[in-house]
């Protein structure tokens, strides 16, 4: 039971300012929701307060006494524990061994009995109805099971400050119910911060909500005083962004013509997904993260082994590798910059990567052409940079992603596969992306998967929802609403 004060936290990663004068207060025995758009700094905050990230500057007060957290050890010592978004578990060890490591540590820290600490962990696992034996290796558990362990690890430590960073994305409805039950039980002894994109859940379990944007806290609000729409409005900056993009309306196909793009995919995770897209169409793909959406795109692109049928204009294609996909005009980009960017290489090299991949290794590189292409792209896409010879890492995240998009566009794609491309991009750049994608879509077909349904709504012609490797819903026109899609995603079927 303690009160906490975060005062002026600042943290920059290179050029990117993740936390910018972050300040707010936490009173004891409350559950706080922490919300904010992608890139607002929520996860950075969680990492900083658990000692994983070093702040550039800022103070932390516990019960009005200044404390400093310079390592995870200290965070644990102050009674802070967290269930991290990208799970913090030792893959090669069993559940029991992972918990043992923490229990051993806590036992010496708190001068308590090791066995009783382990029992707390086991109790937490039981309360969440953890389905696997405790001796299972973490690496062999499913994402959901690992999530449960991660949560139990944080809860079972009986912390005075508990942080849960996106804990529900892989949980079932029942799991979430049980979790909330536990959190309610813990409320008298713990201050809880619940970070999530799912505003419904925030409203269900939290007492107050802290809204973050661009590395700052915009305010703390009592959830009885604000509505969900209020929160969304504050998050997106008060004004709803006029995307200025019209949804593409696809004329119904005249039966006899073969569809522009037809694909049927089957992999270990995907039972059978079959999709037909017309030229000029943007197909949105939605659903809970990890249910096969990304797999689907990767399978089409030949990145993972699969059984599939792909046809463009009725002509069947054989695609076993990215190179073959590219040769047929299918281009793939993802939003994970660690997968797509060459940070130390120049902008023009990054943009020309696919074109260079299509050439023969013996051919001469054409620096002039690369430069010209880059300049054209910089112009058309509005990439902010000093020169195209600059290393890519000098650019902001949004601009780097624009370069990745430029790379895809330079290959003159017939089909564009977008795998969560806007993850972590700021709102303004997102708006620019929408315009660009809509432009590109005029002459191609686009398959656009996003972990955030909001990103799909402005431009998708229609949206399919994938649940556990199957299409469980398809929405177009007026039915294409966030509620419907979320409902289908969570429940696995049309409402």
């Amino acid at each position: 039971m303690a009160t906490w004060k975060i005062v002026n936290w600042k943290k920059a990663f290179g050029q990117v300012e993740a936390l910018r004068n972050l300040s707010f207060e936490l009173k004891s025995n409350k559950i706080y929701g922490l919300v904010g758009p992608n890139g607002s700094g929520k996860s950075t905050f969680v990492k900083a307060i658990t000692g994983l990230v070093k702040l550039d500057s800022g103070k932390l007060f516990r019960d009005d006494l200044e404390v400093s957290i310079t390592s995870p050890k200290q965070a644990w010592a102050h009674g802070i524990s967290a269930a991290h978004q990208d799970l913090s578990l030792v893959q090669n060890l069993s559940v029991k061994e992972n918990l043992t490591l923490i229990a051993q540590h806590l036992a010496s820290l708190r001068n308590t009995n090791f066995a009783s600490l382990m029992q707390e962990f086991y109790d937490a696992l039981d309360a969440l109805q953890f389905p696997a034996p405790v001796l299972s290796k973490i690496g062999y558990l499913s994402r959901r099971e690992q999530q449960i362990v991660e949560i139990a690890k944080a809860l079972g430590a009986r912390p005075s400050l508990l942080l849960l960073d996106e804990p529900t994305s892989f949980l079932t409805e029942r799991d979430i119910e049980r979790l909330f039950g536990l959190l309610n039980q813990m409320r008298p002894q713990t201050t809880i911060i619940f970070v999530s994109h799912r505003l419904r859940e925030i409203f269900d379990i939290c007492d107050e909500v802290i809204i973050m944007r661009d590395g700052q806290a915009l305010g703390t609000f009592n959830l009885r005083d604000v509505s969900l729409d209020d929160v969304v409005k504050i998050m997106s900056g008060g004004t709803s962004i006029a995307w200025g993009v019209t949804r593409t309306v696809i004329p119904s196909s005249c039966g006899s013509e073969p569809p522009y793009f037809f694909v049927e995919v089957e992999t270990k995770k995907i039972h059978k997904i079959s999709v037909t897209i017309q030229r000029g169409e943007i197909l949105g793909v939605a659903g809970l993260v990890g249910h096969g959406q990304s797999e689907f795109l990767k399978a089409i692109y030949g990145l993972i082994p699969s059984r599939k049928r792909i046809e463009i204009n009725g002509k069947p294609l054989n695609i076993e590798s990215p190179l073959q996909a590219l040769r047929h005009g299918i281009v793939y980009i993802s939003g994970t910059s660690s997968e797509t960017t060459l940070p130390h290489r120049s902008i023009k090299e990054n943009i020309s990567l696919i074109l260079n991949g299509l050439k023969s290794g013996f051919s001469l590189a054409n620096t002039a052409a690369e430069k010209q292409l880059a300049l054209t792209m910089v112009n058309n896409l509005g990439i902010v940079c000093r020169s195209v010879d600059e290393p890519l890492r000098h650019l902001s995240g949004g601009n780097q992603q624009k370069c990745v998009l430029a790379r895809a566009l330079s290959a003159d794609p017939k089909i564009l596969l977008l795998d969560d491309p806007l993850k972590g991009i700021d709102t303004l750049t997102k708006a620019q992306f929408y315009k660009l994608i809509a432009e590109v879509a005029k002459n191609t077909a686009v398959v656009f998967y996003s972990s955030d349904v909001e990103e799909l709504l402005p431009i998708a012609s229609r949206i399919i929802v994938i649940f556990e490797g199957r299409i469980v819903g398809e929405f177009r026109g007026k039915e294409m609403t966030k509620e419907n899609i979320l409902a289908a995603a969570l429940r696995g079927g049309n409402e």
Binding site: V53, T340, P343, E349, F362, L364, A365, R407
Partner: protein, 322 residues
């Protein structure tokens, strides 16, 4: 203001990386001049360059390998050169220079391909693979020589290694010729683009349809060929092959030269220019050892320590808490 300073620092870092080794060369020459007048003279410089050339050629091959990936390194450079020394000496007794060179290069190519396949196709970590292939190469050398010293250098080889044309060491011309050729490959061909991409981010490279495997295999092959070629120069210099491990001591300096020359050990960044300076610096350092009459044993110790020092400045793991 802060951005200006950062920009300045960054430009300095990039240019600095390449200038550093040359700066070192100047410093070392000055030190040498202090102890041994005539050190910092054109004629002595020519001599140093002659000594440095084979190492410089091996460093070019090593650069290709190190550029190609996160852990990639070729520990078999010295072994390739060593094998060449004994093999060439043997072959030259019976065959022409042309055929001998072809065979030598073929052997280098095969060992390079072996390395590349072991690392990129089978998945053996580069250090282990190239170390093992160096053992194999020494083994072949040992089997060929059976402890005897067969053959010697020829006048042509000796001229290549030690001779001068219009005052300029032939070895230097060969070295620079190889650097120019390699620079063309690196900066002017599509393969060069692939190489930089693969070293920067293999995932992104794979996504763009480029085969990391092919890039790696070619890089190791180039290193094999170049280090084999360097062996010819060594034979020209040493004249008599005494043992099957004559070039073993050059493996580590070769790697150090590449790192010191500004190429990022983790791949994706770097080139040959810096390696020219760092190879010269290391050669001068080695000549210091000769001047100060430092025994082979102590030299080995110092090279080991030098590597550690270079690592401290150039190759460090990132902190756990950023």
């Amino acid at each position: 203001m802060k951005l200006e300073w950062n920009k300045l620092k960054q430009t300095f870092q990039v240019k600095g990386k390449i200038l550093l080794p040359f700066g070192l060369v100047i410093i070392l020459l000055l030190i040498g001049q202090a102890f041994s007048p005539g050190f910092f003279s054109l004629s002595h410089l020519a001599h140093i360059v002659t000594l440095a050339a084979p190492l410089g050629i091996m460093a070019v091959g090593q650069t290709f390998v190190i550029l190609s990936g996160k852990e990639d390194v070729d520990f078999s450079s010295g072994a390739n050169a060593s094998l060449t020394i004994v093999l060439a000496a043997l072959l030259l007794q019976r065959y022409s220079h042309g055929i001998t060179t072809l065979i030598i290069l073929a052997v280098g190519l095969i060992s390079g391909l072996l390395n590349g396949i072991g690392v990129r196709v089978i998945g053996i970590p580069p250090l282990i693979m190239t170390f093992c292939s160096s053992m194999l190469l020494y083994g072949v050398g040992q089997a060929i020589t059976r402890g005897m010293s067969i053959g010697t250098s020829t006048p042509i080889l000796t001229f290549m290694a030690l001779g001068r044309i219009a005052g300029i060491p032939v070895a230097f011309l060969i070295w620079m010729g190889i650097i120019i050729l390699s620079a063309v490959i690196l900066h002017k061909t599509t393969y060069g683009r692939w190489l930089y991409a693969a070293g920067s981010n293999p995932t992104a490279t794979h996504l763009a349809g480029i085969s990391n495997k092919v890039v790696g295999i070619v890089a190791y092959a180039l290193s094999g060929v170049l280090s084999s070629f360097a062996g010819l120069l060594y034979l020209g210099r040493f004249s008599i092959p005494s043992g099957f491990k004559m070039a073993e001591i050059y493996t580590l300096p070769c790697i150090m030269a590449v790192i010191l020359g500004g190429t990022n050990f983790f791949g994706g960044e770097g080139g040959f220019t810096g390696s020219i300076g760092s190879v010269l610096a290391l050669t001068i350092l080695d000549s210091f050892f000769t001047i100060f009459n430092i025994s082979q044993a102590w030299r080995t110790v110092m090279y080991g320590l030098l590597l550690v020092v270079i690592l401290i400045f150039f190759v460090r793991r990132e902190k756990l808490r950023i």
